[in-house]
């Protein structure tokens, strides 16, 4: 399986075009991230077999960010789905990685996966496996249909389940800050769960402005099954409506909200 991908990775590794290739590996029936450094292991390469979100993916772009930062100037390859491609582009816009160091091998997602992910763009720029599936409405329409009072109650019930494990932040490819507001005692009281409502979740949501690439990993990671995706989908929707900006899609720049305005000519 995935013959085309394996062939291309083998080529990249044997010609030395990349120092390593970051993808998934099937090991004892489990899928895990793996850095391929020699063509010998290629048989174990997996693109993630699952049809539902949760057993098919890992935050590969997050691992790649660490790799590139520790091997400056050296080229690496990565297996990328639509969300990974968006993350790569957004990470580059934020100067976390340099795309010149990255060789992308794309996979388009299956219809099942795209549906499970509620995905607004389930394919990368180019791909070697898979087919182009029509994207879904990227807005959290089911929430918008509720009244404000219903939403307030429902969100409170959801936020209260939070055990403050920081899983959502830790898995997010776009959460790369060295110092995190969610650990600042001015914002979030130490030693208390659930964390301050609704501050904890809204602070993170606000920090995702122009950054969230709508990959859904946060929601998959959340042990309390909080529908975080809906919250960040709303953030993305607000940013798109107000500023015509969707992080990681075409744009190679930071969002208009993050640019410092040009200083006036005469100072």
């Amino acid at each position: 399986m995935y013959h085309a991908i394996k062939e291309r990775v083998t080529e990249l590794l044997s010609t030395g075009e990349v120092k390593g290739f970051l993808a998934l590996k099937k090991d004892n029936g489990h899928i895990k991230p793996h850095l391929y450094v020699s063509p010998d292991e290629i048989d174990q390469l997996s693109i993630g077999d699952g049809e539902t979100a949760g057993d098919a993916r890992y935050p590969l772009t997050k691992i790649l960010t660490m790799l590139l930062q520790n091997h400056s100037g050296e080229p690496f390859g990565i297996l990328a789905r639509g969300c990974d491609q968006r993350a790569l582009r957004a990470l580059a816009a934020w100067n976390q990685i340099s795309l010149e160091q990255v060789v992308v091998i794309g996979v388009a997602c299956s219809e099942e996966l795209a549906r499970a992910c509620n995905c607004g763009l389930p394919y990368p720029d180019e791909w070697l496996e898979g087919e182009q599936i029509e994207p879904k409405d990227p807005r959290p329409v089911e929430w918008e249909a509720k009244s404000p009072l219903q939403r307030l109650d429902l969100w409170r019930a959801e936020f209260e389940k939070c055990i403050k494990c920081y899983g959502c932040r830790n898995i997010c490819p776009m959460c790369f800050c060295k110092e995190c507001s969610l650990e600042s005692e001015d914002v979030v009281t130490k030693g208390e769960i659930p964390p301050d409502l609704p501050m904890f979740h809204l602070v993170r949501a606000l920090h995702m402005i122009g950054r969230c690439v709508d990959c859904g990993l946060c929601e998959e990671a959340c042990p309390a099954s909080i529908p975080l995706r809906a919250l960040y989908k709303k953030v993305n929707d607000i940013v798109e409506t107000r500023f015509q900006f969707r992080a990681g899609i075409e744009q190679t720049e930071q969002s208009p909200l993050h640019k410092i305005a040009e200083p006036p000519a005469a100072i």
Partner: protein
């Protein structure tokens, strides 16, 4: 930028069911004492009229039907 960020936050508050009017942004210089007092009084009055947040669990169904929209859970 601040004005735009506050506008985004206001939309977000509305989304979680909190009235956007509970958030206010005004620029007041240190030379504008009376203006500051006015703004504060007006805003306090507005918040008072809105009352406390109406978190009453009337609709809350944990693991609600909203999850149905997300078959991965």
């Amino acid at each position: 930028m601040t004005a735009q960020r506050v506008a985004v936050l206001r939309d977000l508050l509305e989304f979680v069911g909190i009235e956007g009017e509970r958030l206010n942004l005004v620029w007041v210089s240190s030379a504008e004492g009376p203006r500051f007092a006015n703004e504060m009084t007006e805003f306090t009055e507005k918040i008072r009229s809105l009352g406390p947040l109406n978190w009453n669990y009337q609709w809350a169904v944990p693991d609600s039907e909203l999850r149905a929209a997300n078959p991965s859970k």
